[in-house]
Amino acid sequence: MRLLICIKQVPDSTTRVKVAPDGTSIVTDGITWSISPYDEYAIELALEQKDNAADTVVSVISVGGPRTKDALRQALAMGCDDATLVTGEGADTLGPLGIANALKSAIDELKPDLVLCGKQASDDDQGFVGPALAEALGWPHVAVVTKVAPSAAGTEIWKEVEGGHEVWKASGAAVLTVQKSEKEPRYPSLPGIMKAKKKEIPERPVTGVEDPVTIEIVKLEPPPARGGGKIFKDGDVKAHAAALATLLRDEAKVL
């Protein structure tokens, strides 16, 4: 079984994102870049399959500029077998349908049995590339996936829904967009890091990829400032609790 995870490099989750003076981009100086969080869960899900069946091959792929190699190397250090970078001019400005098309042409050659994406990337927060890739490939997809297990003639896939999980079965190839699961993504091991350093990361050109629609960013803004709230610091918690209920009803009008 060959699993392929599509990963995106994004600002690390602890980054305090600042809007640049142009008002349509963010300040990238000093940002630590890492694998988008849900993509890490997808890697973990795939590596668990490999833990259970040693003949499983886990590959990663990313579309992006040169620094994207660091994210791919991080995935190799976690235990993935190989990595591919789709790059070239415009690779880091492609829209979601363009990225899906770039990934599709690589997947046509790499021929994985399952493709895993994150539920959404933590920069554009869209959740479009996974379903768009499935559509481009003509494959089914399952969203909000928390678990997979091989089964007779296919793969069982757990999808988080309100009040529980639906279990679906894919008889052949499918795209899964992965949700956070109980199992935290593993950390790279020291031998893993050493091995990852030596691995070749083959590149594929992004040229000729079609990107049918452009989404324009008109304006970026920090969320409205909050704070300056009424904070009860000293005194009797019980009395404050009672006062708070009245404030919520009469002042904030939310009760």
Partner: protein, 293 residues
């Protein structure tokens, strides 16, 4: 301008978010509320059925609720139609040939105004648009979904603890607990408060990771993004990844024994103190306040 609203039902009733979107769509243009018939239809099958109908209907804009299922079908439909897709919008306006929307980016740390050419597909957050008082229940058209090759539904596995409450992403009031609650036992008290408020339950990741509460209750960057009228954070420190999911709430209440906890920086009302002292007293006080005392 032709607007489609993808209808979502729960227990046979149109969901609130679908009704919110129907009201908005009627303001934007010629609205059709449309439902994909069938249980457990895969996103590809639903998108195919909708795309078939779109050939004749040619909607300029498709709106879906930003629920897990709404987002799934909307994204696949946009890909099928090769149109722009904007997810989790909090506002949508049309100016002739393009749609402009407000939405979060960078895990909710930035608010973006984005523009895409029409036709386009948007998923829209619950509570983004008001319901019109006394409005008639919208007419719902339907399409029948075919099979999704290669994918079959096998079974449903319910989560033990989550029955009977409003869903987190649609809730007007959320009571959310963090590691400060010390263990799963404390949720008896959290639930007592949630019952009085008619609230949904939320949690920090520390809580879901520890297995005190199911994953689906997690709020934040790797959990749900929520926008209720009232968010009550109990024993939650206010890590940046938690704030990313809840700072767009209308009113935030925080209870934490540490006066320097970051959660107080976003709180409209805060109480520095022991959450276990706070909970029973506040539950009683809410009961009384609601009774008009």
């Amino acid at each position: 301008m032709k607007i489609w609203v993808l209808a979502e039902k729960k227990d046979g009733q149109l969901r609130r978010v679908s009704r919110e979107l129907a009201a908005k769509a009627a303001l934007l243009g010629d609205a059709t509320v449309i439902e994909v018939m069938g249980e457990r239809v895969s996103a590809a099958a639903a998108a195919d059925a909708l795309a078939e109908r779109a050939k004749t209907d040619a909607p300029d804009l498709v709106l879906a609720g930003a629920t897990p299922s709404g987002r799934d079908i909307a994204a696949r439909l946009a890909a099928t139609l090769r149109r722009a897709y904007l997810s989790e919008c909090t506002d949508v306006t049309i100016d002739g040939t393009s749609v402009e929307a407000s939405r979060g980016m960078y895990a909710g740390k930035v608010r973006a105004r984005v523009r895409a050419p029409l036709p386009a597909v948007c998923s829209v957050r619950p509570n983004a648009f008001p319901l019109v008082d006394g409005a008639a229940e919208p007419q719902v058209a339907s399409v029948a979904a075919g099979d999704a090759p290669g994918l079959t539904f096998v079974r449903f596995e319910p989560t033990a603890s989550s029955g009977g409450r409003v869903t987190l992403s649609e809730a007007r009031v959320i009571v959310s607990g963090g590691r400060g609650l010390k263990g799963p036992e404390a949720w008896a008290q959290v639930e007592a408060l949630a019952d009085v408020l008619g609230a949904a339950l939320g949690a920090s990741r520390a809580v879901t990771d520890a297995g005190w509460r199911p994953n689906e209750e997690q709020v934040g960057q790797t959990g749900k993004t929520v926008t209720p009228d009232l968010y009550i954070a109990l024993g939650i420190s206010g890590a940046i990844q938690h704030l990313a999911g809840m700072t767009s709430s209308k009113v935030i209440v925080a209870v934490n024994k540490d006066p320097d906890a970051d959660i107080f920086k976003v709180a409209d009302y805060g109480i520095v103190g022991d959450v276990f002292e706070f909970l029973p007293a506040f539950t009683d006080a809410v009961k009384q306040a609601k009774a008009g005392a």
